[in-house]
């Protein structure tokens, strides 16, 4: 996190705000609810309180304005700059302006008002932009499901540096952005997707380009707003050119970046009994899909559409040398790459043996 240079902050904690005008795209109630929820993001981890007033001078004025609007920081029409806000202080200090030419929504369509408002109010309170890609105060817009939104730890650290901890006996904590070179990094799921390799972790995924070996971190929600965080397994069905993603008993299908209609579905469709509550990892190879659940391996025949007899069997029996629970697995050339905790094992499908073991985050260029 970063504080605004000079660390300007409000000297009182019971702040007031006033909504000067509204956007015609959302009802007044929806705007008020989004703004109230955005302020609550900051009041929960700090001693700050926010009270709406409808008359007089508020600490934080909120307005929807287009282009040049008198503060020497013109907006630029749809997309580009979405909003801005001023650091704590009298007059325009603390005020937040939203580009009235944007499309403001209360869902995953660009741009969710609650998320942008929560970010701008961070500036109104004295925070600057954070270089943590998972932080609310990161400069670029990134959709996150408002119904499950919790302020990331980086932002909590920032606001508490300025105003101290919350008055509640239990200090709230928030999610931290995974770092590629964390020696303890475990992947939730790994799959290939038309040549690229996707490493899923919490609400993020690293995408590795096969030739350039560049790795970039993205929000799952940026590509697939409807997918949940915390995916557990994933595999690419090369014959159908589909990627399947699993969480709990539900699974989704992607064709490229497009989510297929009619999903999520229940893994009962694969023939799993109700006793199987979740899938740890999955990989498809030569018309068979291998599912890893606890210390067992199931094998599904893609063309017959049923599980093969003789399964489940122990993982170490199906893949000698893989004597651990599997977090994730994917196929590359004639190798299955099994990930377990901070390690991966390369299983040679020709010699039917483990031929290499190393750190998982080597795949992220660490």
């Amino acid at each position: 996190f970063r504080l605004t240079p000079g660390s300007p902050k409000w000297t009182h904690t019971n702040l007031t705000y006033r909504i000067i005008n509204y956007t015609p795209q959302l009802s007044k109630t929806t705007v008020e609810t989004a703004i109230e929820k955005a302020f609550r993001v900051w009041s929960v981890p700090s001693p700050l309180t926010f009270t709406e007033i409808s008359q007089g001078e508020a600490d934080i004025n909120i307005a929807f304005v287009p282009r040049e609007h008198g503060d020497n920081s013109p907006f630029d029409g749809p997309n580009g700059i979405l909003a801005h806000a001023f650091q704590p202080g009298q007059g325009i200090g603390g005020d937040a302006h939203f580009d009235s030419e944007e499309t403001w929504t209360q869902d995953s369509r660009n741009y969710n008002l609650f998320l942008v408002a929560a970010h701008e109010f961070g500036h109104s309170l004295g925070l600057s932009h954070s270089s943590d890609p998972g932080a609310l105060m990161y400069p670029n817009y990134a959709y996150s499901d408002p119904s499950t939104y919790s302020l990331p730890q980086d932002d909590i650290n920032g606001i508490q540096t300025l105003y101290g901890p919350s008055n509640s006996p239990i200090q709230p904590t928030g999610p931290s952005t995974p770092t590629a070179c964390d020696p303890h990094l475990r992947f939730d799921a790994v799959t290939t997707l038309r040549g690229e390799i996707y490493f899923f972790k919490d609400k993020y995924f690293w995408r590795r380009h096969p030739q350039l070996r560049e790795v970039d971190l993205n929000f799952i929600s940026l590509f697939w707003p409807f997918l949940p965080n915390g995916l557990q397994a994933a595999y690419e069905d090369f014959d159908k050119d589909l990627v399947f993603l699993f969480k709990g008993r539900q699974y989704w299908a992607l064709s490229g970046y497009d989510i297929q209609q009619g999903y999520p579905r229940d893994i009962a469709n694969y023939g799993f009994p109700s006793s199987v509550r979740a899938i740890d990892a999955a990989v498809s190879y030569r018309g068979k899909t291998y599912f890893f659940v606890n210390n067992q391996c199931w094998r599904y025949d893609n063309s017959r559409g049923t599980m093969d007899p003789g399964y489940p069997r122990s993982i170490s029996r199906a893949f000698p040398g893989i004597n651990c629970r599997v977090d994730a697995v994917f196929l590359q050339n004639s190798f299955l790459l099994f990930f377990s905790g901070p390690q991966y094992f390369a299983f040679n499908l020709v010699t039917h043996s483990v031929t290499r073991a190393a750190r998982s985050n080597l795949w992220l260029n660490c």
Partner: protein, 83 residues
């Protein structure tokens, strides 16, 4: 056809404008008036590296594809550095 290919020279000029505009708004790139072209390009490269460092991109000091892609993303209007 509506989508006519953009000649490379125009694209480069367009990219240069995008970069300068972005760096002026968010990284306090001084105005290029009254500056020599040489000094201006040095300053642009310096600010580009600052922006690339902030976003965790390769610090090339050049308007490479990843940098231009980042500059094209919707964002907040408050500068990333300074007041």
């Amino acid at each position: 056809a509506k989508a006519l290919p953009v000649p490379p020279e125009d694209l480069e000029e367009k990219n240069a404008k995008t970069v300068e505009n972005y760096l002026r708004k968010f990284y306090h790139l001084p105005s290029t008036q009254f500056q020599s072209a040489r000094r201006n390009s040095t300053m642009v490269a310096e600010k580009l590296r600052e922006m690339q460092r902030f976003f965790g991109l390769a610090e090339t000091g050049k308007a490479d594809a990843a940098t231009l892609e980042m500059m094209g993303k919707p964002r907040c209007g408050v500068p990333d550095t300074g007041d």
